[in-house]
């Protein structure tokens, strides 16, 4: 049995056991980590598997957060249903976003996603009846239910709920990228023109993957607002988009696990550095620069190299006729 195939169940067992061994502040951090991990993983579907580099993934997070916050504040809908509804709503909006953004490719695509997220950011200040303007939505409850179930509104209950969302989404994404659909996505990543020539409607695939990624990003956001108890305009700010992209890349894009590790790294570093020094962002920035220079394959790539293993994702191929795109000369 390979070492890496044992890591997954081991990590899951540790995560499941965490509430029994960790103090309360650590559980808060861990819950946030699970939510951010889900957020980063959702972006990896676009960035790592389809090479659709989104600069505006905060849009998904913010949409999900505001939607679930609004539902929980204004109805008695039980927490799981409200979260799910917010995720589905985000995914549906993303169909429109994907339609517009996939008009462009490359850097222009990135910029369109950024424009859309900034548009939402601007709207969130002005549409006060829904978003609460610059105050945001505060006092978001964790509505009890379904069937009168109270357990999800407790701290640990909510953690398990978030963890279930992460694990469920992980298996969903893994099934997706291993399916024929995922093979076409990798074909688009390696050489879109060839994939198109093989008869795949690449634009339709791209819109679909944008919708799925936004729905899962929305799920993360929808978990965040009842976790934090508030939703504000900061969640839609471009810095969030930048940070989640960094998590994906630091962790190792195109691996699903990598971004979760990236989120862990990001959050832990932020937490540790901010307790030692006021100037944590300085060291934070230097760490990223060092990663780019010395560990371009990300944390997961480093781990695999260290363990001398290749993850199954890496050996999966795009459809046989689609080979690597010729390296484009820079400049």
């Amino acid at each position: 049995m390979r070492v890496t195939s044992l890591l997954g169940p081991l990590a899951l067992a540790l995560l499941l056991a965490a509430p029994f061994g960790l103090p309360i502040f650590a559980m808060t951090l861990l819950t946030e980590l699970v939510i951010l991990g889900l957020f980063a993983m959702s972006l990896d579907l676009m960035v790592g598997y389809t090479r659709l580099v989104s600069f505006g993934h905060a849009a998904a997070y913010g949409l999900g957060a505001y939607a679930s916050g609004y539902i929980l504040l204004n109805s008695a809908l039980p927490l799981p249903f409200a979260v799910l509804a917010a995720a589905i709503l985000t995914g549906m909006i993303a169909i429109g976003v994907g339609w517009v953004c996939t008009l462009a490719t490359g850097v222009s695509f990135s910029m369109l996603t950024l424009a859309f997220a900034q548009l939402l950011y601007a709207v969130s200040f002005k549409w006060t009846s829904v978003t609460g303007g610059s105050d945001g939505l505060a006092g978001i409850p964790r509505n009890p239910g379904p069937l009168g179930l109270e357990v999800l509104s407790t701290k640990n209950g909510f953690y398990y709920f978030a963890l279930a969302c992460l694990v469920g989404s992980f298996f969903l994404c893994r099934a997706l990228v291993r399916s024929p659909f995922g093979a076409v996505l990798r074909g688009i990543r390696e050489n879109e023109a060839k994939t198109l020539a093989l008869g795949y409607n690449t634009r339709l695939y791209k819109i679909t993957v944008v919708a799925i990624a936004y729905a899962l990003g929305g799920l993360a956001g929808a978990l965040y607002s009842p976790f934090a108890g508030f939703a504000n305009t900061e969640l839609l700010f471009w810095l969030v988009s930048g940070q989640v992209l960094i998590m994906v890349i630091v962790g190792g894009s195109g691996t699903l696990i990598g971004p979760i590790l990236g989120a862990t790294f990001f959050l832990t570093l932020e937490h540790q550095l901010s307790s030692y020094t006021e100037a944590w962002a300085l060291f934070f920035g230097l760490t990223f620069i060092a990663f780019v220079l010395f560990a371009p394959e990300g944390i997961w790539g480093l781990a695999k190299r260290y363990l001398g293993q290749r993850a199954p994702e890496e050996t999966e191929q795009a459809p046989a006729a689609i080979t690597k795109a010729e390296a484009k000369p820079h400049g």
Binding site: Q118, W280, H330
Partner: protein
């Protein structure tokens, strides 16, 4: 106020705003044209320019000294960054540049906080530029007129640099085919260093010019980098003329949008960008579709 005076007043306002946006956008677009890099740190360098300008005014006692010192210092820093770090990454994909410049933005932002503190700092305009003039019997700040003029002069100067000088020729050639320029015996890396430095210096010039208007503050960076991206995307990545047109469009939309529909002013800029990209995905003058 007569309609004509109002339009004139707002137009000069928009032109002075366009000048600041142009300094941001043209640097970004030059860097992208040569290096295919999206420089995330551009807004932070703009902010750095304002703070270096503040110190230069205090040391030299002259605003004009600051106008020279800020672009020079920031430009040299940019060149050093290209030389030390970016140069190792040209064989890698766009992700690497994105991260490394994001890291630079974090480091620079924090360094500014450590050196100058978290307070917004006043940079006074020189006495010569701090009065008002009367345009059609309406008072108007001289500094705004100065900005608009400075923008026009610099735009002309950069255009001449690109069209008439040997360096400009090499820059244009490198943006079209770097390998060929290299094969013809020119050190492309030197051009990249120079262009990255010039781009960073132009951002800093914008920052120090903006400082008397808005004070030097940390908030400058975030809005500046987004504005710069929007301008470059509207104009077309890598196009000099595009960045000029983009800056003018965005400035007029911002100024007039702010006057007529202050609630939606922020959204207008992004709507303009979406509209341009839907019609022309590569930007108005961009090559890439």
């Amino acid at each position: 106020m007569s309609t004509l005076a109002f339009l004139l007043n707002q137009s000069v306002n928009a032109l002075s705003q366009a000048a600041l946006l142009f300094f941001l956008g043209v640097g970004l677009t030059l860097i992208f044209g040569i290096m295919r890099i999206v420089n995330f740190a551009h807004g932070t360098l703009y902010m750095l320019g304002a703070f270096v300008g503040y110190s230069a005014v205090r040391i030299t006692g002259s605003y004009w000294g600051a106008l020279v010192a800020a672009p020079l210092v920031v430009g040299l820093l940019g060149t050093a960054f290209e030389f030390g770090i970016l140069r190792r990454l040209y064989r890698r994909d766009a992700h690497a540049f994105l991260m490394v410049t994001f890291g630079l933005a974090l480091v620079t932002g924090e360094a500014v906080r450590l050196i100058w503190g978290s307070e917004a700092l006043q940079v006074p305009a020189p006495a010569l530029l701090s009065g008002v003039v009367f345009l059609l019997d309406e008072p108007f700040p001289v500094y705004r007129l100065f900005l608009a003029a400075a923008g026009a002069v610099m735009a002309f100067a950069i255009w001449q640099l690109l069209e008439r000088t040997r360096l400009g020729l090499l820059i244009r050639a490198t943006s079209q085919n770097a390998e060929m320029v290299h094969a013809l015996g020119t050190d492309v890396n030197m051009i990249r260093s120079a262009v990255f430095g010039i781009g960073c210096g132009l951002a800093a010039l914008g920052g120090v010019l903006a400082a008397p208007l808005v004070t030097a503050s940390h908030g400058m960076a975030a809005s500046a980098v987004i504005d710069a991206f929007v301008i470059v995307i509207i104009g077309g990545m890598g196009s000099f003329l595009g960045s000029l047109i983009g800056a003018l469009l965005v400035a007029f939309v911002q100024v007039f949008g702010n006057y007529y529909y202050p609630d939606f002013a922020l959204a207008f800029m992004y709507l303009l960008m979406l509209l341009v990209l839907v019609v022309r995905p590569g930007g108005l003058l961009g090559k890439e579709a």
